[in-house]
Each structure stands twice: as structure tokens, then as C-alpha cells.
């Protein structure tokens, strides 16, 4: 590459003739290659070289302004080909053409009839001799004379619009013998020195002053001002040759003058003996809904200029035309105005063919009808997004959109660009963007463009509001799978204030969306996925996010949360959460790439496991993609199917996977390139660092880093609450293969969720079986509870569940029950405690509903027990299989399971370390406090393993991030609000105090082994605890929140409060 920075003007040798020839030949070869036969490699090279050549040989300034460079991701958008209203760049990227080459492409790109005429003429005679008479030019002049209004009869042809204006100015001066012109403010007639004199904009004009003498400017549309200037000019003898105006000002943003303007101009010009020049370069040839702009007002100008579309969008072509009387002044010496190439046969052939298209396809009529439609649609958008679209104006398909600022205009232009719509609008000049497509643009493309415009507006409007909202992105994405529509709405600020985020905000959105009696697997159920305020920041462990919906397993409202990095990615894409309603009739997946949201076909993915699905998404959307997916279990609506992410993380409990399946939703995949803002980054960073060191990375929590959850294997055994052999025993004497030491010996790496310095994940490897895990619940319910004490088998079980998308907890619990039923002779499932082969085989059978036993186990433990009359053998509450802490050895856990909104759940309250596990009075208080404070944690989306975080610390972090004061008391109230709201919802759905119980086994069958050998939790004790629990919560004896409680929490206006 030669260095062009040096000054070569004094160095004659500064050239490389051979290279010039070679590079020219290379490009000619590329030009000559048949369409579609230039390899991508060559086209990529062209794209790269074009940027360099623009930089080095055209004007590097363009590179900084053109969206095709500044907004393009990798390769700048490089012109290659196109057809009709679709442009295709050198790398096959398609763009819908809203720009129409600023009015050049009125007939679409490469209209076949125009191309055919030009090609034929090219083969006959491309230029003329300059001596013989050329027939095409002569005929074209006649055709235009017939087409134009008034007495226009003669024409002169040139190459560009500005030349036409130059010619018109010369003609006016010849004819009138006067020198001055009246032009319009904000008018645009070209950038050569003569026409530049008429320019109504300072930027292009001022640096080149002085220009032509005697030019005055008046406001466009003000005929009185024109008259005043003409009168004044006559009074001082400084006379005017012509008044020049565009019928509708194009560059100014499609400004339409008042109806009386043009007729008055005609009158005034007649009165003062001044010519009237209509610059129809942009408005002519059907653009405004009439053949010429002046046709709207039935005004015949003295001189009419044409350009742009005159050449059919194929050959450069322009003209100025006038009457016989005026043209006379050109006759004595026709050489006073000539051109070598203007009106050449190719251009005339193009223009003649273009006129046939104009008339045969009634392009003016099309422009009129479509223009009216577009203006109506844009007016509706203006109503909906007044902060984005300030004004809409124009005539026909010369439409201008005006934005409040250049910045917003540029966002619109850039947003459209990223959605494959080509418009004008540069970084410095984007306040007015023209809507100027081909006049024959198909209706479906027009509608698609309007859709994409709304998409862009959506992303701008809420984000303007969000500019003041820290931590939250300020918008929630609503997806209607039935109608396949998506819409962003501002995150409800009142709900954010009352419910913070995560679980609480999710519940608030959910109860607003779904009536309590809705069937969980119907299209009327909704999925609400909500991140927390701290998600996507350095606040440690804050990357979890919550799903709130109605559970197919329990019929209750439920929440299930997940770590990993889906939450932050969603936030970086610009959303606090998702609300998914309806159901698709075919498999689909939701694809979110920042503000670009699509519902895509997932037919090919249906039936595939989660691992393969994730690999597909990485291939399709890039390695950065984060996703929530279901496997066959979810597709088959197994009520304990989970939702998987990053292979080994799940929203496990409650059957979220089945809800995806019922909606035909295979996965949600997201990539985000945005960020999360906080009020005062320095202060916030300082606060989270202090919290990290002083609260998180302390003795209370470091077990998570050193061991992770497997540490609970030994602890629960010591406490005698480690479910073993289908909740028969509380200790597993053969647990050595499953404990923390066993895990450590096969661990090959630490894993963490996004932004978590604890890194509790153990990546393990045994004989080629690798996964992150198993976690305690799996080790116990999939291990001890099935008496599978071999780590490799439990790892295989875990991987299988993760891939087919089953909750390991419910699956392990259910398999344990089936083993029990088999061994006790109730029903032969071919399963036995400790037998690994069938234990592993049945996982796949459940997910695929492949065998009788698979279909039976797929009912879940509670329904399986119901079917085989085994109510006294099953461990569950409200239908949710019990987790790995036996409540008979800790009555706090019994109350926690019984009162949880989603059934037996260890994440609502966790009392296993209580000093006295049977001291009922203290435990009730502990459960309530723990439920409330955990609720706040799940609203903030902090991890369970930050055990030492309290509402004081959370309030401090939140206040710093939000830049407004939130107190610990506010947060405590939020925790209570969540519990009261889910309670109201479940009551309205028909659940009562009688449902706040455990399965009979807990009362009727005694725990075996360990410190609590022989213990049960009797119905009476649980009842006693419930009474106290309701009383302390200020609920009535039926478990219904009392009015005063709801009033205290500011919830008495909720309609749910009336329903009970």
C-alpha cells in the first residue's frame, strides 16, 4: 500500500502506473463475473477495500458520518446489487429501501422495462456524434412537452439536477435581461456555484460567499413576502429575473406550502413580469401523487426543472423545459448553452422507458394512495410515541418525519439500519428523516418498514424515561405467543417501589395478568421472568432471576429461580423482565438481540435435549448467547420438568419446563450489549466491595467456596434429617461416596454464576462423566433417597436430568417412591433401591413418556401415590415433592413446607440449624422472619448462600445504586407484601388453610435411625404451629390476610383483596 500522506505535488514520480492498471483490471474482472458468481471472499475483500479507498481516495469524512460504516458491525455496508425495494450488500445483507436514493429510485431499483431499453440502446449507440441529429433526444423533448402542464414545449437535457437549475437560471437571465432571483429559505437546488446561490441554508453557502449577485431569500410558503421583495426590487431598479421554488421542499423535510402559495406565486410573477421556475427535480415524475408537484395546484410554471427519477434510476439525467416564447431567446445562438453528454441516447432511452412505466403503472396514483396510508400510520405512531416523533408531513410518497432532536433522529436512523431498513439521517443531521421509497413499493414491504419503525420507536421512548432510573433498565418485554407480537413497556415504577424486583415484582406482574382460576397449562397462563435491581452489577451474587407463574404440579402460584448469567444478559439487552402470554401453535423460540426481538421457528429443535439446544443457539447467535431451554420433558409437559441454562443450571422446581412446553416455547435466547447504570458508580462500587469483604466473604458463607452444597451431606446426617430410602431413614450410613470429600477428590474446577466471588460450583469428572455438580439436593434425593451411593451413577443421573430437562429433586423423590412401592410389593416398576441400571433408564423413560412406568412416574410423586393408593408413603406438600431435609427431624421445616405457596420448598424458610428443632413457639417466629427476609432476598435476587445479608445492608446497597433512599423498613414491608400477595392469589384460586399440610407419611410413619429415630410430626402439632403462624401474620384462622394487615401494607386496594 502506498503512503499517500506525503505531498506528491512536487514529485512527478509519485505514481505507480502498473499498479493502477492491475487494480483496474482486478475490478473489471469482478464487474464481469456473472451475477451470483463472485465468491464471498472476494466480496469481503471488496468491502474492506472500499472502506480504505473511501478513506484514502474519496473522503474519509464520509466514514465518520455514514451509518453504513458507523453502525455496521464488522464490515461496512458495501453497495452490491438490488431489485425493486430491496438492496443487497456485498455480504448478502438485505435492506429494505426507505431512502429511494433521495428520489432516484421512484420506479424501484433496476426496473426491468427500463433496464431492457437501456441495454438495447447500449448495444445500438450509447453516445451521440455531436453532429448528426439524435432521434431519442428529440422524441423525449416532444413526450415531455406533451406531459408537462401549460405551454411548456422545449427542453434541454443534462446530467444532474444542479445542471438543470443552472440552465434554468441562465435561461431566465437571457430572457428577462435581469439578474436577480428570489429563492426560498431552506430551499435546495444543488451545490454548483450558480444553484448554490439559491440555497436556503447557511452551512453550504456561507463559506463560498460571494455567490451570484442579486439573490434574495424569503420564507417558503409566504407569497406576500415574495411580492414584497419583488415590489422593493422594482422600486430600487435592482430587478428580478425569476422566482425559484420547489413545489414541496424536499431536503427541508418534505415541507408542503399552503394551498394558496403556488397560485399566488403565479399571479405575483405575472404582475411583476418575472419568470416562475419550479424545481421539480425531486417532486417530479409522480413522487408527490401527481405527475408533477405543481399539478396539485394547477399552476403552470415558466420553466420546469427535472432530474433524479427522470433517468429511471438507471442513467443520470436531468432537464429544464420552457415555453416556445421564452425559448426564442436561445435560438439566435444555440451554442450559448450546450453539453457533450447531457441527453445522451442511454439517458433518453431510460427516460422514455421510465415515462412508460410512470403512466402504465400509474405511479402517481400509487404514490397518492400509499402516501395517504403511510401518513395515517405515522400519525398513529406519533400519538403513541409523542416523545419520539414530533411531526409528520409531506405529499404522496415524499414524506418527512421530524424528531425532537438530531440525537433522537439518529437513534431512529441507526435503529432502522440495524433492523435492515435503509434511511437517510446522519450523526449531525437527523432531525428530519425522509420517507421516500419507490412509488411501486409492495404493500407488504411498506408494512414491514412501518413495523420496524414502531420497533425502533419502542426502544427509544421507554429508554428516555429510563435515563433517570438507575439499576433498572426501565422496560419490560411483553411477548404474546398466540399473536406472535412483542412489545416493550416501561417497567411499572409503583410496582418497583413496592415490590423491588425479582420475585416480588414478578408476582405483581403475574397477578395482574392471570386470573386465579386459570389452568396452568392453558394459553391463558403467563410466564413472568424478572431480574433484580442489582443484577448486572458488581453487587455479589445478584445474578439470579425469578420465574413466576402457576405451577402444573401444584396448581398454585409459584416462583422458581436460577443463577448463571441469563439474568444479566437480559438486562444488558435492555429488559428488567419478560412477560410471556398466549401459546404458539407450532414450536418457536424467542430470540432477543438487544432491542431486536424475534419469535423464530423451533421445529428443528423440538425433541432435542437441552445440551444440544444450547449448542445450536451458540452456533446461531454466537458464543455470547445465554438461554433458558427445555428438553423433551418440558415438551411432554411433565409437571416437574425444569428449565435449563448453561447446561447445568436450572429453574428446577414447580414445572416451569412444562409451562414452556404448553406454550410450544423451546427456549428464550438473549444477547445484550448494553449496560446497567447506577447513580454514583464510585460510591456504589465502594459499598459493594465493603459488603463483599465484610459480609459475604466471611466465615458464615465461605463454606460455599471451599465445599459448596455437598457440605450439607454430613451436616444433615448429623442432624438426622437426611432423607434416605424414600424418606424412611434420616441418616445414610453409606454416604461416603457422596459427601464433600468425595466431590473434592473428583473436582477439576470451580464454577460461578455471573458476578459471584463465592464460586460454589464444583466441576467434577469421573471416568469421562463430567458436569457441574451434583449439588446436595441431587446427592441426597437422587442418591441416598434411592440408596444409590455411587457418585458416578448420581452424576450420570444428574446429567441425564439436566439434558432431558427434569428437576433432579422431584425426579429423585419420585423414583425413590417407585422403588419403595416395588420393594413393598404394591406395584412392580422394575426399580429397586440401589439398582443403578433401571434407576438411570427410567429418567429417559419419564422424559419421553416412553414406557408404562415412565408415564406413571411422570405424574410426579403425589399423583403416583394417589394412583397406587400409597398416600402414607409419599413425601410432598401441595403436590411438590419434598426436598432433602426431613421435617420430622425439624418442625420448623415442617411449617415452612406447609405454608409455602408452592408446596414443599426449602428456600422459603430454612430452620435446620435451630437450637431446638422441636421448640414450636420459637420456630414459628423463625419461619415467619425467615420467609419475609428471604422474600426480600429473592426480590433483590441475591443468592441464598449470602446467608449473612440483612435488610439493612440490602437497603444501603439499593439506596446507593438507585440514588434515592430506601430503608430497611421499606424492604421488610416488601417481604411481607410478597407473602400476603401470593396468599391472596392462592386463596382466590381455591386453596385454603386445609391445604397447608404435609403428606400423611410425615405424621403416620416414624423416622428411622439417627438422633430423631421414631419421630413424626403429628397433624395436631402442625395445626398448633399454623394457628400461631396465622395469628402472628395477622391472618384469620382460615389463613386469610386480615383487612388491617393489607391496609398496613398498602394492599387494600388490590382487587384480589376483595375476592376473598
Amino acid at each position: 500500500m502506498r503512503d499517500f500522506d506525503d505531498d506528491y505535488t512536487s514529485d512527478y514520480k509519485g505514481r505507480e502506473i502498473e499498479t493502477a492498471g492491475e487494480e483496474a483490471r482486478q475490478m473489471v474482472d469482478i464487474i464481469l463475473a456473472p451475477p451470483g458468481e463472485t465468491s464471498r471472499k472476494v466480496r469481503e475483500a471488496v468491502a474492506r477495500k472500499t472502506v480504505r479507498n473511501f478513506r484514502d481516495h474519496i473522503n474519509r469524512g464520509f466514514l465518520a458520518y455514514r451509518k453504513s460504516v458507523t453502525e455496521a458491525t464488522n464490515f461496512a455496508l458495501t453497495e452490491w446489487t438490488g431489485e425493486g425495494s430491496v438492496l443487497v450488500d456485498a455480504l448478502d445483507r438485505k435492506f429494505l429501501d426507505l431512502l429511494g436514493g433521495f428520489g432516484l429510485y421512484s420506479y424501484g431499483i433496476r426496473h426491468p422495462r427500463i433496464i431492457a431499453a437501456v441495454k438495447a440502446q447500449l448495444d445500438r449507440s450509447p453516445q451521440y456524434s455531436q453532429e448528426m441529429l439524435d432521434p431519442l433526444r428529440a422524441q423525449l423533448a416532444r413526450v415531455l412537452a406533451l406531459l408537462t402542464p401549460g405551454k411548456i414545449q422545449y427542453g434541454f437535457f443534462s446530467n444532474s439536477g444542479t445542471e438543470a437549475v443552472e440552465g434554468a437560471m441562465k435561461l431566465a437571465k437571457f430572457y428577462t435581461g435581469k439578474k436577480g432571483f428570489v429563492a426560498m429559505l431552506k430551499g435546495f437546488h444543488g451545490k454548483t456555484l450558480g444553484s448554490l446561490s439559491l440555497m436556503g441554508k447557511k452551512t453550504y453557502r456561507q463559506p463560498l460567499l460571494p455567490l451570484l449577485e442579486g439573490v434574495r431569500h424569503v420564507p417558503f410558503g409566504d407569497a406576500d413576502a415574495v411580492e414584497a421583495v419583488l415590489a422593493a426590487a422594482r422600486a430600487v431598479g435592482d430587478d428580478i429575473a425569476a422566482v425559484v421554488a420547489e413545489p414541496v421542499q424536499g431536503e427541508a423535510g418534505a415541507v408542503v406550502p399552503p394551498d394558496e402559495f403556488w397560485p399566488r406565486l403565479r399571479e405575483v410573477c405575472n404582475h411583476y413580469g418575472v419568470l416562475l421556475i419550479a424545481d421539480e427535480v425531486q417532486t417530479g415524475m409522480g413522487r408527490t401523487g401527481e405527475i408533477f408537484g405543481v399539478d396539485h395546484w394547477n399552476v403552470a410554471p415558466d420553466i420546469l426543472c427535472l432530474g433524479k427519477a427522470l433517468g429511471g434510476g438507471v442513467v443520470p439525467m436531468s432537464a429544464f423545459l420552457s415555453t416556445a416564447k421564452i425559448w426564442e431567446c436561445m435560438e439566435p445562438n444555440p451554442f450559448m448553452h450546450t453539453t457533450t453528454t447531457g441527453g445522451n441516447p442511454l439517458a433518453c432511452a431510460a427516460a422514455l422507458a421510465a415515462i412508460t412505466v410512470l403512466l402504465d403503472e400509474d405511479l402517481a396514483g400509487q404514490a397518492r394512495a400509499k402516501g395517504k396510508y403511510v401518513k395515517e400510520q405515522l400519525a398513529q405512531l406519533q400519538d403513541r410515541y409523542p416523545g419520539v416523533l414530533a411531526k409528520v408531513r409531506g405529499l404522496g410518497l415524499l414524506i418527512g418525519m421530524e424528531f425532537p432532536t438530531d440525537g433522537i433522529g439518529y437513534k431512529v436512523a441507526a435503529g432502522l439500519f440495524s433492523r435492515g431498513v435503509l434511511t437517510a439521517g446522519t450523526l449531525t443531521n437527523a432531525r428530519n428523516i425522509r420517507f421516500e421509497p419507490a412509488l411501486n413499493i409492495p404493500q407488504n414491504i411498506l408494512d414491514e418498514i412501518l413495523n420496524r419503525i414502531e420497533d425502533v420507536f419502542k426502544t427509544i421512548e421507554p429508554s428516555r424515561q429510563a435515563a433517570t432510573a438507575y439499576l433498572h433498565t426501565g422496560q419490560v418485554l411483553h411477548v404474546d405467543l398466540s399473536n406472535r407480537t412483542t412489545r416493550t413497556m416501561p417497567t411499572n415504577p409503583e410496582w418497583v417501589r413496592d415490590y423491588i424486583g425479582g420475585w416480588g415484582l414478578g408476582v405483581r406482574y403475574f397477578v395482574d395478568q392471570v386470573a386465579p382460576d386459570v389452568d396452568p397449562l392453558s394459553a391463558d397462563n403467563a410466564l413472568v421472568l424478572m431480574t433484580g435491581p442489582m443484577c448486572g452489577t458488581l453487587a455479589p451474587t445478584a445474578s439470579r432471576m425469578c420465574l413466576v407463574s402457576k405451577s402444573p404440579l401444584t396448581g398454585t402460584i409459584f416462583e422458581s429461580n436460577i443463577g448463571g448469567s441469563f439474568g444479566p444478559e437480559l438486562k444488558f439487552a435492555g429488559y428488567d423482565g419478560l412477560v410471556i402470554t398466549g401459546a404458539s401453535d407450532t414450536p418457536v423460540y424467542l430470540r432477543i438481540e438487544d432491542d431486536r426481538v424475534r419469535i423464530e421457528d423451533a421445529g428443528d429443535l423440538w425433541g432435542k435435549g437441552i445440551f444440544e439446544t444450547e449448542a445450536y443457539l451458540i452456533d446461531t447467535m454466537g458464543p455470547q448467547v445465554k438461554s433458558l431451554s427445555i428438553g423433551p420433558a418440558g415438551e411432554n409437559r411433565i409437571p416437574f420438568a425444569c428449565i435449563g441454562s448453561e447446561a447445568y443450571r436450572q429453574m428446577g422446581r414447580g414445572g416451569g419446563g412444562a409451562l414452556f412446553g404448553a406454550k410450544n416455547l423451546k427456549c428464550i435466547a438473549v444477547t445484550g450489549t448494553g449496560g446497567v447504570q447506577v447513580a454514583d458508580i464510585g460510591n456504589f462500587w465502594g459499598k459493594v466491595s465493603t459488603a463483599r469483604d465484610a459480609s459475604l466473604l466471611t466465615e458464615d458463607n465461605l463454606w460455599a467456596q471451599s465445599d459448596g452444597t455437598p457440605i450439607l451431606v454430613d451436616l444433615t446426617n448429623e442432624l438426622g434429617i437426611h432423607p434416605t430410602r424414600n424418606f424412611t431413614a434420616g441418616v445414610n450410613p453409606n454416604r461416603r461416596g457422596l459427601d464433600s470429600e468425595a466431590i473434592k477428590s473428583v473436582k477439576i474446577g470451580d464454577r460461578a454464576c455471573a458476578s459471584c466471588p463465592l464460586g460454589c460450583g464444583n466441576f467434577t469428572s469421573v471416568d469421562g462423566v463430567q458436569l457441574e455438580g451434583p449439588e446436595y439436593e441431587t446427592l441426597c434425593l437422587g442418591g441416598s433417597n434411592c440408596e444409590i451411593n455411587d457418585l458416578k451413577s448420581v452424576m450420570q443421573f444428574n446429567r441425564l436430568c439436566d439434558d432431558v430437562g427434569l428437576d433432579t429433586m422431584s425426579t429423585g423423590n419420585t423414583i425413590g417412591l417407585a422403588m419403595d412401592l416395588t420393594e413393598s410389593g404394591r406395584h412392580d416398576f422394575g426399580l429397586a433401591f440401589g439398582k443403578e441400571k433401571d434407576y438411570l433408564a427410567v429418567v429417559t423413560e419419564i422424559a419421553h413418556l416412553a414406557t408404562d412406568r415412565g408415564r406413571d412416574l411422570a405424574l410426579g410423586a403425589a399423583a403416583l401415590a394417589g394412583k397406587y393408593d400409597a398416600e402414607e408413603d409419599v413425601a410432598h406438600a401441595k403436590g411438590l415433592e419434598m426436598p432433602a431435609y426431613d421435617p420430622r427431624g425439624n418442625y420448623g421445616m415442617a411449617l415452612a413446607y406447609a405454608t409455602s405457596e408452592r408446596g414443599a420448598c426449602h428456600l422459603r424458610a430454612f430452620t435446620i440449624t435451630a437450637e431446638d428443632p422441636f421448640k414450636v413457639q420459637d420456630l414459628v417466629r423463625d419461619v415467619i422472619d425467615n420467609q419475609n427476609s428471604n422474600a426480600v432476598k429473592w426480590c433483590m435476587c441475591f443468592c441464598d448462600f449470602w446467608g449473612s445479608v440483612d435488610t439493612t445492608l440490602m437497603a444501603e446497597l439499593l439506596s446507593t445504586g438507585l440514588g434515592r433512599q430506601v430503608s430497611a423498613d421499606d424492604l421488610d414491608k416488601t417481604g411481607e407484601r410478597v407473602w400476603n400477595l401470593i396468599r391472596l392469589y392462592n386463596l382466590a384460586a381455591g386453596f385454603t388453610a386445609a391445604d397447608d399440610v404435609l403428606s400423611e407419611k410425615m405424621a403416620k410413619k416414624a423416622l428411622k435411625g439417627g438422633p430423631h429415630d421414631g419421630r413424626v410430626i403429628s397433624a395436631e402439632i402442625l395445626e398448633e404451629m399454623k394457628v400461631r403462624y396465622y395469628y402472628l401474620r395477622k391472618w384469620d384462622e382460615g389463613g386469610r390476610p386480615r383487612k388491617e394487615k393489607l391496609h398496613e401494607l398498602g394492599m387494600d386496594t388490590l382487587s384480589l383483596a376483595d375476592e376473598i
Binding site: 466514514l63 454466537g622 449496560g675 473434592k744 470451580d750 466471588p757
Partner: protein
């Protein structure tokens, strides 16, 4: 250079605290897509690779810059003088590690080691990023990482390809007190 930045992939948990911290330090907001380093996660394989700028002894980005907007400062750190940058993107193409990128305006940005106190290192709790005087082992590890050069693709694609190579060649064994890979 007294100290160098070293990435030890075997220790990385994939938590991305480094990229959050980097973007907070450089952009004033949490925006990992604009961080000066990145983490390539392989969740299935349970592996993560931090991609860092090596501050190359002979930086290709510097050589490629047509306007000398990239310089090596007195501490040996390769920095972009953004006032001079014309946004041509030649440096992005030139870097074999994908560690220099452009804003939408075209202006290039890259790691400058935060003037000697890298924010990323301060947030790495598993020792996967260290900033210290070079020694024999660290030089070797760094050398191995630098040897794999990617000429094709976007910056992100180059980083991914590098990370894939590192994963492919990683020796992963149960944890001992000093595993560095």
C-alpha cells in the same frame, strides 16, 4: 515492564467480575461488552478463558495504525491516543488476539492496565488474573497463550478461537495447591 498481567484459565470460574469491573472503571457503567478484557465461557465443559491484552513487545495494532494514534508508553503499555484515532479499524484487523475494538464512532479502545493497578485483577477472587513481576512459569504460560495467533474474523471471533484452543490443550486435574495449567 516491571509487572505483567497474566491469565490462568484453569482457575477461572467464569464469573465475569473482571469485565464488570473493567467496564465500570472505563465506561462508568456495568457493560461487559465494552470491557477491555473478556471471558469466554464454555459452560458444558465447565471451563472459562479470560482473554487479555498482552501489551505485545512488537504490537501489531501499533504497526497497523496509519496515523500513529497507538503508542507504547514509558511503562511499556500500548495505549490509544483517541484524539488522533481516525476510526479506520486497521488495528482491529491487525491484532491477532482480538483485544482492540472500536466504539460505534470508530474510535479504538483497548486495555491500558488502568495505569498500573488493573481493576480486573482486584475483582478476581480465584487468582485467574494476576498482575505481578514475570517469572519463569508465568513467562512460559504467557508465551504459550501468545503463540496462538488468529488472523481471521472479528475481535470476538478471534478471542473465541483462542479460548477454544486453550480449552483443547488444557490439562485439568483435581485441584492442588498450585495449579496453573
Amino acid at each position: 515492564m516491571e509487572k505483567h498481567l497474566l491469565a490462568i484459565p484453569n482457575r477461572c470460574t467464569g464469573c465475569n467480575r473482571c469485565t464488570y469491573a473493567c467496564s465500570a472503571a472505563k465506561e462508568g457503567m456495568f457493560m461487559p461488552s465494552r470491557a477491555r478484557l473478556s471471558v469466554n465461557n464454555f459452560p458444558q465443559e465447565g471451563y472459562s478463558v479470560p482473554n487479555i491484552c498482552f501489551q505485545c513487545p512488537r504490537p501489531d495494532c501499533l504497526t497497523a495504525c496509519p496515523v500513529e494514534a497507538i503508542v507504547k508508553n514509558e511503562r511499556g503499555v500500548v495505549v490509544v491516543e483517541s484524539g488522533k484515532c481516525t476510526g479506520c479499524g486497521d488495528c482491529v484487523d491487525a491484532c491477532a488476539y482480538g483485544m482492540i475494538e472500536q466504539y460505534t464512532s470508530g474510535i479504538a479502545y483497548k486495555c491500558d492496565l488502568c495505569g498500573g493497578d488493573p481493576a480486573c485483577v482486584g475483582e478476581c477472587h480465584f487468582g485467574a488474573l494476576v498482575f505481578r513481576a514475570p517469572d519463569k512459569i508465568s513467562r512460559k504460560l504467557r508465551g504459550e497463550q501468545m503463540k496462538q495467533r488468529m488472523q481471521k474474523g472479528t475481535a470476538a471471533e478471534k478471542r473465541r478461537a483462542l479460548a477454544q484452543n486453550i480449552l483443547k490443550n488444557a490439562v485439568r486435574i483435581p485441584r492442588t495447591t498450585s495449579y496453573m495449567g
